[in-house]
């Protein structure tokens, strides 16, 4: 995890040093890397016999827990957004 954060820190410094130059390609690079990462994730899951074999049996529970947890946190974040937003808009002006 610290290696990952270190990479980001080096990136921040590099980006800051080169901030006068235009790098329009960076957004594209980002997405290509995300595609690659998701592709690798898929390959990792697909080739894992334990996960594949259990999908039918455990898939429903996993889906339920995943969706419920995500939804719960979205609603909670929506509440925080409502709490903060009014005086945030005045701050910005």
């Amino acid at each position: 995890m610290f290696t990952v954060l270190g990479c980001m820190l080096v990136g921040i410094i590099a980006g800051f040093i080169l901030r006068k130059k235009q790098f329009k390609i960076i957004q594209k690079v980002l997405f290509v890397l995300i595609w690659l990462l998701l592709f690798l994730l898929g390959a990792e899951i697909g080739s894992n016999p334990i996960v594949v074999r259990q999908t039918g049996k455990l898939g429903f529970d996993a889906l339920l827990i995943g969706v419920a947890g995500t939804l719960g946190s979205i609603i909670a974040a929506g509440l925080l957004w409502k709490w903060i937003k009014p005086d945030k808009s005045t701050n910005e002006k």
């Binding site: 995890m1 290696t3 990479c7 980001m8 820190l9 080096v10 990136g11 921040i12 590099a14 980006g15 800051f16 040093i17 901030r19 790098f23 960076i26 690079v29 980002l30 890397l33 995300i34 595609w35 990462l37 998701l38 592709f39 690798l40 994730l41 898929g42 390959a43 990792e44 899951i45 697909g46 080739s47 334990i50 996960v51 259990q54 455990l58 529970d61 996993a62 339920l64 827990i65 995943g66 969706v67 419920a68 947890g69 995500t70 939804l71 719960g72 946190s73 979205i74 609603i75 909670a76 974040a77 929506g78 509440l79 925080l80 957004w81 903060i84 937003k85 005086d87 945030k88 701050n91």
Partner: protein
């Protein structure tokens, strides 16, 4: 929505190629995805540093934002609590443990497999992958209906790496630092919270 579909199709292609073993063995090495993640983080850092006005950006944010990780945790647990009656094979604490991966599927999957066995570990792995994919796919809708924090909460522990670019695109560059702060706090919380629910 178009970018989500592209992401999903890459994921699905990987899934199929992995299942039918159509890729060279090197691709199944976890190290490769780690290197890609490092490249991704460098690029993310670069795009942040490139803006140059980090401190001003941070000052403009409302201090109450520090509570966002707490809202993420509480919301996730309440969500898990709401569906626990539909889950037959696992207890309330098991369900809460699995949901406490907050999208960090690799770590939570490994931890829970060790504490509670491979079945719950697989549940943790799959449910947290579901969380990450939901975030990648529905980030624009979340922002529209639940405000700009919702994609960050939904991304959970992944908001400073895999879901970061999507969050910046949907919630805006002003929220890049919030996203990183949130991911950092959540990343640290996952091992503790998972261990806590598994020990009950």
């Amino acid at each position: 929505m178009k970018s989500s579909l592209i992401i999903l199709s890459f994921f699905a292609t990987g899934l199929l190629l992995g299942f039918f073993r159509l890729l060279p063995e090197v691709f199944f090495n976890e190290e490769i995805s780690f290197y890609v993640l490092c490249c991704l983080m460098f690029t993310v850092g670069f795009s942040i540093g490139h803006q140059g006005n980090l401190i001003r950006q941070f000052r403009r944010l409302n201090p109450r934002i520090v509570f966002l990780p707490l809202f993420t945790i509480a919301g996730t647990w309440l969500g898990a609590l709401a569906v626990v009656f539909f889950i037959n094979d696992f207890s309330l604490f098991d369900t809460l443990a699995a949901s406490s991966g907050f999208g960090y599927y690799s770590l939570s999957g490994i931890l829970i497999t060790r504490y509670k066995g491979v079945e719950l570990g697989t549940i943790a792995l799959m449910s947290n992958i579901v969380r990450e994919i939901l975030t990648l796919l529905f980030a624009p809708l979340m922002v529209k209906y639940f405000g700009k924090f919702s994609t960050i909460s939904s991304g959970g522990a992944t908001t400073m790496d895999t879901t970061f670019p999507v969050i910046v695109q949907t919630a805006g560059k002003d929220y890049a630092l919030v996203s990183i702060y949130h991911g950092f706090v959540m990343d640290f919380s996952v091992p503790f919270l998972v261990t806590f629910w598994c020990s009950l």
